[in-house]
Symmetry: C2
């Protein structure tokens, strides 16, 4: 439409989950409908971009030397570390309230086809945590796909000499799910993960 508008639309389109039409709508909103929200967005983006970084211990979002989870002694003293692919996975687990140990965010999964190798993932700081003996149990909460599986195998091999108890989260039918609507791979996972019923 105009050069500045097009530049903004192009930049918004780079955000995850935003397509051409959504970017157009957002740009119109920011420039014509609510110009004051463009200022607010610039302000919070600047501030967050200056303040927020990746936690050097676990890779979570943090504004201080360590993230709010690593700084909590009750959580790190448990010795239990849950390995996740992305920060958003960590946030989901936190919201569920089902886990009270600490985390390690890999920021990806091994994927040779996409050129993602071990050096691209946050393995170094995990190994440091293992070497200083801070981890007794490692729970792999990585995706139920080929890359997630490969990453789990790689980590298990890497950690074998350290005697860490490594487990992977269960797979199967989700809560409220029925066999009727489950896909074939989920059903295979669920059958493989069957347990004696008491």
């Amino acid at each position: 439409m105009t050069p500045s508008f097009d530049a903004l639309q192009k930049q918004l389109k780079k955000l995850p989950g935003v397509g051409y039409r959504s970017a157009e709508r957002m740009a119109i909103h920011l420039l014509l409908e609510k110009p004051e929200s463009a200022h607010s967005l610039i302000d919070v983006l600047k501030q967050a971009n200056g303040n927020v970084s990746s936690c050097p211990i676990c890779g979570n979002i943090c504004e201080d030397a360590e993230c709010s989870i690593c700084i909590d002694e009750r959580r790190s003293e448990s010795g239990s570390v849950c390995v996740v692919e992305q920060v958003s996975d960590l946030l989901s687990l936190e919201k569920s309230g089902a886990y009270r140990g600490s985390y390690h965010v890999l920021h990806g999964k091994l994927s040779p086809i996409n050129g993602v190798g071990p050096s691209d993932l946050n393995f170094d700081s995990l190994m440091k945590r293992v070497e200083v003996g801070a981890i007794s149990e490692l729970i792999l909460a990585l995706p139920n796909d080929i890359e997630g599986e490969a990453t789990c195998h790689y980590l298990t091999d890497l950690l074998e000499p350290y005697g860490v108890n490594v487990s992977r989260i269960g797979f199967g039918l989700p809560s409220g799910g029925s066999v009727l609507y489950a896909d074939a791979v989920t059903l295979k996972s669920a059958l493989d993960a069957r347990q004696t019923f008491q």
Copy 2:
């Protein structure tokens, strides 16, 4: 998660079509995954926010005194003006290539239930265009709903004394659409809009 992160997420959530989870994904993308894209976004947003404004003639996006469509004499000389609700509607029509006159963007539609009255819409500059005799034909390309209908009636009454030829775009089955999958209201529009087949 952290105060700056939460502030950014809250601000992103205000964008049209962005929910809680998308805002979270975007904030993680902007702060951890691609921090350089946060800088680019700040830059283009600043520049666009300074340059882009609403065209004083038609309400379209513009960076100069008039928008690129109003400045084009071949288009304004046609005397045909297409009235649309939003800038994005104008962009859709432009992309279709089906219309070569000029536009008028109302930035909304009459909706008493949402507190949108005539003074909230871009009617004043439309009346100015009518009064100076710049408009001979007005095509109402407003939505096929109650508010769109009400806005069409309001505009028709408003323009009656000026002898402008007012028409409304056709409604019915979309291109490629079949009667089988069309909803009841579309079918009613399509039946009402039936024309002699030659």
